[in-house]
């Protein structure tokens, strides 16, 4: 196994935990979100739902670090995918979405986070509720489910502002129509294309009840998005009968500058 870049030669007790990732390709997902495909030799593996810290270094040594969820499933090995949403006033995300190109190298630390994770062995049924770029770790779970051939019943309820802002649209639609594929339900909160027959409001208790129904034994829910969505959905799921310990949450979104 390759070592993370490090300073063990200098006599520190542990090697530096930063991995070098080479950008293999960049892929715009929506007007605001871009996927970076990375090659990370020696990557130790991760679980769907985990994230990494990405470190940037300016030529005078100034550094900035932010966390991004992994979009790729463990089955992709040393090939990782990060999907980054561009925050208008962000220090790091505009660089990752606008500047980075194939051949660049980034530094990664991780995988990080041991709670908001799902493995096929954990079972279900699985209810995934995402808002905006909160869909990213949920996509890693759906990709892991597909890669392992899992037949755990799964449903994704995904809230986006508009049709154009749905990340992974083509792949989600493909997954949904595959044998044993997950159910995928969108709600478009700000604008809808002509002829849209789906939901057109923020996720609420009635929508969750229609989509999820009462939780079956073993039901697991993962909720990721902006704080208000996560607070409301988690609370509504408890009202529906989900056990608190079976509702896992993660917050996304701008945290100021």
């Amino acid at each position: 196994m390759a070592q993370p870049i490090g300073t063990s030669r200098l006599g520190r007790r542990t090697a530096s935990p930063w991995w070098v990732a080479e950008v293999v390709a960049t892929h715009p997902e929506t007007p605001r979100a871009t996927t970076l495909l990375l090659a990370v030799p020696g990557w130790p593996g991760h679980r769907a739902g985990q994230h990494v810290d990405v470190r940037l270094t300016a030529d005078d040594g100034y550094q900035a670090v932010r966390s991004y969820s992994l979009a790729s499933p463990p089955e992709d090995g040393e090939r990782l995918a990060l999907t980054v949403e561009r925050l208008g006033d962000g220090e790091v995300s505009p660089y990752l979405t606008d500047e980075v190109r194939a051949g660049d190298r980034l530094e990664l630390r991780g995988p990080i986070g041991g709670y908001f994770t799902w493995t096929a062995a954990a079972g279900g049924p699985l209810l995934l509720v995402g808002g905006g770029s909160g869909v990213v770790p949920l996509m890693a779970m759906l990709r892991h489910r597909a890669a392992t051939g899992s037949d755990v019943p799964a449903c994704l309820l995904y809230s986006a502002r508009s049709d154009a802002e749905i990340i992974y649209r083509a792949e989600l639609d493909r997954l949904a129509t595959a044998a044993n594929g997950p159910r995928v339900v969108y709600t478009l909160t700000r604008s809808q294309p002509t002829g849209w027959t789906g939901y057109r409001r923020r996720i609420d208790a009635a929508m969750l009840e229609e989509v999820s129904g009462l939780p079956a034994p073993g039901a697991l829910a993962y909720v990721c998005g902006p704080t208000r969505l996560v607070e409301n959905v988690a609370s509504d799921l408890l009202s529906l009968g989900y056990a608190p310990a079976r509702v896992k949450t993660e917050r996304f979104g701008p945290t100021g500058s």
């Binding site: 870049i5 300073t7 542990t14 530096s16 935990p17 930063w18 070098v20 810290d53 470190r55 940037l56 270094t57 300016a58 030529d59 040594g61 100034y62 550094q63 900035a64 670090v65 932010r66 966390s67 220090e91 660089y95 500047e99 660049d104 190298r105 980034l106 530094e107 630390r109 990080i112 986070g113 041991g114 709670y115 908001f116 704080t227 996560v230 607070e231 988690a234 609370s235 799921l237 408890l238 608190p244 310990a245 509702v247 896992k248 949450t249 993660e250 917050r251 701008p254 945290t255 100021g256 500058s257």
Partner: protein, 203 residues
């Protein structure tokens, strides 16, 4: 942080020295108050809320909400630092000092496990909770602490990363042997000093 591969074309956003000197390594400043928690927000009714100190103590203690709120409290202005890398300066809280709650308890234990509604736990050395370093806070910015920020009451230990400032805290268990809490069992550092950047296992 040291070393690092130069990121072609990255310039970053440097802070004025007065602000930068208050930011631990690897942190950035936010004006928001982000919410981070692993599960649903509990809403315990206050008439059934209590705060207890138990474990290896000579005299276990218990306060109802009314008794707790009748204790002397302090206004605390402090910077807070989240392991997810945001820091927030000059936050204003009101709370009861742990020194007040621990007075007269009597213990030989060196460690504390804080426990919470919702099942969350975090562990700390007792020495990090005494001598004016920690509070049980019930107000933020002049208003009762909001549920998503840990209300009705949360631990406030601002010299450690903020996951140690357990939301929805209901008590402390004093123990002789250190016992990793929730995040401490899931890859996060056992102590969590932001000025030494103790974020994850192995830091």
């Amino acid at each position: 942080m040291a070393g690092g591969i130069i990121s072609r074309g990255f310039h970053g956003r440097r802070r004025p020295p007065a602000e930068a000197s208050r930011l631990p390594p690897g942190q950035y400043l936010t004006r928001d108050f982000p919410v981070l928690s692993a599960g649903p927000t509990p809403h315990p009714p206050l008439d059934r809320w209590d705060f207890v100190i138990k474990g290896e103590v000579a005299a276990p203690r218990r306060w109802t909400w009314q008794e707790f709120r009748a204790l002397p409290s302090e206004r605390i202005t402090t910077d807070i630092h989240c392991v997810t890398r945001w820091s927030k300066l000059d936050t204003v809280w009101e709370g009861v000092a742990l020194d007040t709650l621990l007075a007269g308890v009597g213990t030989a234990a060196d460690y504390v496990v804080a426990f919470c509604d919702g099942g969350y736990t975090t562990n700390l050395p007792l020495a990090d909770l005494t001598a004016g370093q920690a509070w049980v806070a019930f107000a933020y910015d002049g208003a009762p602490l909001a549920p998503e920020h840990g209300g009705p009451a949360r631990l406030l230990v601002p010299h450690l990363y903020f996951w140690k400032s357990a939301k929805w805290v209901r008590g402390l268990e004093l123990v002789s042997d250190d016992r990793p809490g929730f995040w401490e069992s899931l890859g996060y550092h056992n102590h969590g000093d932001p000025w030494h950047e103790q974020r994850y296992w192995g830091d």
